[in-house]
Subunit: 191 residues, 2 copies
């Protein structure tokens, strides 16, 4: 594994996740993470406020990235296609697949982390809905489209994480088509 300075953050993340998985999140200390990464605690604190930030530090950047991507979608695009166009850029900013898989296992095993994840997701949802409203969408439709869009993103992420050969943009389109199928079954008659 490369030892150059630019990889410090990645080495710390890798060491932290390995320890969280091996011995549990609660039992892992910053000192242990630094030791496993062959770095000092001081280096750790140059990149993260605490061990929780290894898991959640990227979520604000992720949210800002999506909001900017929404702002860049051509005016007049309907709300759900706007969100999907933004989500299609997700592979540009997310962590590698093995990081995400371990991260999600660690979070699922620890209720307070799971709660933190829910709170971050709710903040993301509010930010996306607000971005749609700024584009002229009414409040209720913005919220409905955001809830629908996040349902599609959740399904697509799950599929992309389970199948390493999946193309994210294709999986996203297939998940949106599945949402349409599910929604159409609840229509009283064909449109």
């Amino acid at each position: 594994m490369a030892r150059w300075e630019g990889d410090t953050r990645g080495r710390l993340e890798h060491a932290a996740l390995a320890l969280f998985e091996e011995q549990g999140y609660d039992r892992t200390t910053v000192a242990q993470i630094a030791r496993r990464a062959n770095l000092t605690e001081r280096s750790f604190y140059r990149w993260f406020t605490d061990k929780r930030e290894v898991l959640f530090g990227g979520t604000e950047d992720f949210q800002n990235h999506l909001v900017s991507a929404i702002d860049a979608v051509p005016a007049g695009t309907p709300p759900l296609p706007t969100l999907l166009a933004a989500f299609a850029t997700v592979p540009e900013v997310i962590r590698p697949r093995d990081f995400l898989l371990t991260r999600s296992a660690v979070i699922a095993a620890n209720p307070p982390l799971h709660e933190r994840e829910l709170i971050k997701l709710a903040a993301l949802s509010d930010a996306l809905a607000a971005a749609l409203v700024r584009r002229g969408c009414d409040e209720q439709t913005a919220r409905l489209a955001t809830d629908a869009g996040l349902a599609v993103l959740r399904l697509a992420s799950k599929r992309a994480l389970t199948d390493e050969h999946a193309d994210f943009v294709q999986v996203l389109a297939a998940s949106a088509a599945d949402l349409l199928t599910v929604a159409a079954e609840a229509a009283p008659r064909s449109p």
Copy 2:
């Protein structure tokens, strides 16, 4: 206001919500709630573990009610219509409109309560998806339909709370139709 024993719980709820709204949730004590309701603290603790349970005590019953309602839907009904049929029974079990409006204002003004609400909603979502899986739905479709269904329920609840003359079942159907409209705009071509 009636003073018979059966109304004790309602009087405590009413007093608690009025105080939460007037002086804030954090500043309100159980002693104050009991005094406002002309009851003893002991009566309060006969109905609630603590003041937070005034806001969240009903959520477990609500979840159990919805799961039973899902179980009662005829086999072979697709997932989203199954959820909507269950949601259509919501007016049987929810608190009066003024209770819900005040409750939601109190929760919105207090981040820890808002977090508690998110956690309860995630538990509800898991329970609904599990109920669909028990009916033979695959895991991914169950999750997608649940996310879509809760988006419809959220919109319908908002509309029903804003318009006191609204018929909940009609509002629910209209919200499901809106979801279909939003989802169809993301389809690459007409089906």
